[in-house]
């Protein structure tokens, strides 16, 4: 101990691993984030339940549509007229084509929670410090997390939509069943995945900025559900510009992304996708910049 002032002999240096193959790269960070997602039970449970809920909702929707269609037909047949009064607006075929994306309404809630939980739980448990010591440049770690959650959400969305399509056909029966080649059906299935991927990125940004699971979930739900509802039901009559602006809310824009047909005053499918994508991109960039500067 007393000889501690003498410097250590150079030959005692430990073996060194400085070859270029030994460091951090994006592929490795992706793999690390993938390990993290798949090794916490709650995330796996959320992923499975999202698929179950989305396909289940689609099955219910198909059932409801086929019953409605039967009622219209049985009501219409004895009169011999062109459909009963009050039923003119109901186009059962068009409703049926929307079945693959009908699970979104709850699916997005679960995906939003999953995305918030994935990042905010790292702050809650202190894991974020391990993450950022391993990847001190931070941005690759956060980007990798976004890529993983967006990919998972896309696969869940598109996969559930396709499953829903398959499940719906026997329920709808011979009159209403439709093929993947029907106009707009295949894009709607794929875009159900895109929609959820964008929801995931927006939610993860919210979770990153708030660093709090409960606050993040509440904020995401407010943005996706509550604000659109308030505007449609309470505020839209106050001024003309309010419903105009409401079209640009993420979920309202996203609805156009998965829609089969769009109305003339609404955003087109492309516009809807771009608006929702812009929300995701802006929030992602803000969350990256803030994370870069903030103490962990």
């Amino acid at each position: 101990m007393a000889t501690s002032t003498s410097p250590a002999p150079a030959q005692q240096r430990p073996r060194q691993n400085r070859d270029s193959g030994s460091g951090v790269n994006f592929g490795r960070v992706l793999k690390s984030e993938w390990i993290k997602v798949t090794t916490v039970p709650s995330t796996v449970i959320l992923i499975v339940s999202t698929v179950v809920v989305m396909v289940g909702l689609a099955a219910l929707a198909s059932w409801a549509i086929s019953i409605t269609q039967d009622e219209i037909q049985s009501a219409g047949a004895p009169q011999g007229g062109p459909g009963g009064p009050g039923m003119e607006g109901f186009n059962a075929a068009e409703q049926a084509w929307m079945i693959p994306s009908s699970g979104l309404i709850f699916g997005q809630l679960l995906i939003a929670s999953l995305a918030v939980v994935l990042i905010a739980s790292e702050w809650a448990t202190g894991m974020i410090r391990s993450t950022m010591v391993a990847v001190p440049k931070r941005m690759p770690a956060l980007l990798a997390k976004n890529v993983i959650i967006a990919a998972i959400a896309f696969v869940i969305g598109a996969g559930s939509a396709f499953l829903s399509y398959l499940v719906a056909q026997p329920i709808l029966g011979g009159d209403l069943d439709f093929g993947l080649t029907t106009d707009g059906v295949l894009p709607s299935i794929v875009n159900t995945g895109t929609y959820l991927a964008l929801i995931a990125i927006i939610s993860m940004a919210i979770g990153t900025l708030l660093r709090n699971t409960a606050g993040g979930v509440v904020t995401a739900v407010a943005l996706f559900f509550v604000v659109p509802l308030i505007i449609v039901n309470l505020l839209s009559g106050l001024a003309d510009w309010i419903p105009d602006a409401a079209r640009f809310l993420p979920t309202n824009a996203g609805d156009q992304l998965v829609a089969i047909t769009t109305q003339s005053d609404a955003l087109t499918q492309w516009e809807g996708g771009l608006v929702m994508g812009a929300w995701a991109l802006v929030l992602l960039v803000v969350s990256l910049v803030v994370t870069q500067k903030r103490d962990v």
Binding site: A8, R13, G23
Partner: protein
């Protein structure tokens, strides 16, 4: 090697670390000692880039931590035993950390064995004791076989066997030529483990020296003397800046002069001396002496109602 230059961290009006400069050398265990709230953890967090310094800079092996291509192979850090997702198993946690650097699973298993986590490696970290959490943190620090190891309060929550294990591990790593930087508020542990000490109090470095010189320099030599006529002896020593405490008629403790000098005076004055014992100053005493003006929260014996209601001292 860790080099800090005028490193500062301020939180609002409060300065946690105040322009500290120090170097942690390879090949020995450097202790980072200070009372709670002295700025040890904040300094260590700045070393690995978790906190951005408000001023100054700190480098590891010549570069800021974040600019290393393979940071886990440069520096292994145990900063907070609870920096782990509670629902993940220890094995999967280490696997996820290792994956960022392409460290193979064989190394993950190696550090699990090394830290004695084998029996609990597949269990969720949430159920770990504090000591197990510390072992997992140390396992994570060693994953990349790093040149520099930073351990913040590593013996916290460890049982005596674990404390000894950390001591042997730290010395072993230093003997291999690595830089070992170890923080603690326990001076006794530092006395056994560290070769060199950096003492910090209220964000400032109070001492930075080999451990022996801190013991020698701060605690002045104190000698217990039994003699026939101690008053004569003290009279002759009076001019040499000593202080003395008479414990019994023939027993005094003399501070500020070494035993040889006392024996010389005794010989000259023809005082019979029948005990002359140098009293070793413990590191603990030296530490208290160093930091007594620098602690942020003083404790009092038996505070009165008035004192308890008074605002914190030392602000």
């Amino acid at each position: 090697m860790i080099e800090a230059q005028a490193l500062s961290k301020r939180y609002g009006a409060k300065t946690a670390v105040d322009a500290v400069s120090f170097t942690v050398q390879p090949g020995k265990v450097t202790g980072f000692l200070g009372p709670n709230g002295a700025g040890k953890s904040t300094t260590m967090r700045m070393i690995v880039g978790l906190d951005n310094p408000s001023g100054g800079r700190v480098t590891v092996n010549g570069r800021p931590y974040a600019q290393h291509g393979a940071p886990l192979r440069e520096v292994g850090a145990l900063l907070d035993a609870k920096a782990v997702h509670t629902k993940r198993s220890a094995y999967n946690h280490l696997r996820a950390m290792a994956a960022t650097h392409g460290i193979p699973n064989s190394r993950v298993k190696e550090v699990i064995e090394l830290t004695g986590l084998g029996p609990v490696a597949k269990k969720r970290v949430g159920g770990f004791s504090l000591g197990m959490g510390q072992r997992l943190g140390i396992a994570a620090a060693l994953l990349g076989d790093p040149h520099t190891v930073i351990l913040d309060e590593p013996v916290n929550g460890l049982d005596p066997e674990g404390v000894q294990w950390v001591r042997h591990l730290s010395k072993g790593l230093a003997a291999e030529g690595r830089t070992v930087f170890l923080s603690s508020h326990l001076m006794s542990e530092m006395a056994l483990t560290a070769d060199h000490l950096i003492v910090i109090g209220r964000g400032r470095i109070i001492a930075d020296a080999p451990i022996q010189s801190i013991i020698d320099g701060q605690g002045k030599a104190r000698v217990r003397v039994r003699a026939d006529r101690p008053q004569d002896l003290l009279g002759s020593l009076a001019g040499e800046g000593v202080t003395a405490q008479v414990l019994e008629p023939e027993l005094v403790e003399i501070t500020g002069v070494d035993p040889r000098r006392i024996a010389e005076i005794a010989l000259r004055e023809r005082v019979l001396v029948y005990e002359l014992t140098p009293l070793q100053v413990s590191l603990e005493d030296a530490y208290m002496e160093l930091t007594q003006t620098e602690v942020e929260y003083h404790s009092h014996d038996l505070p009165t109602a008035d004192q308890a209601a008074a605002p914190l001292e030392g602000r």
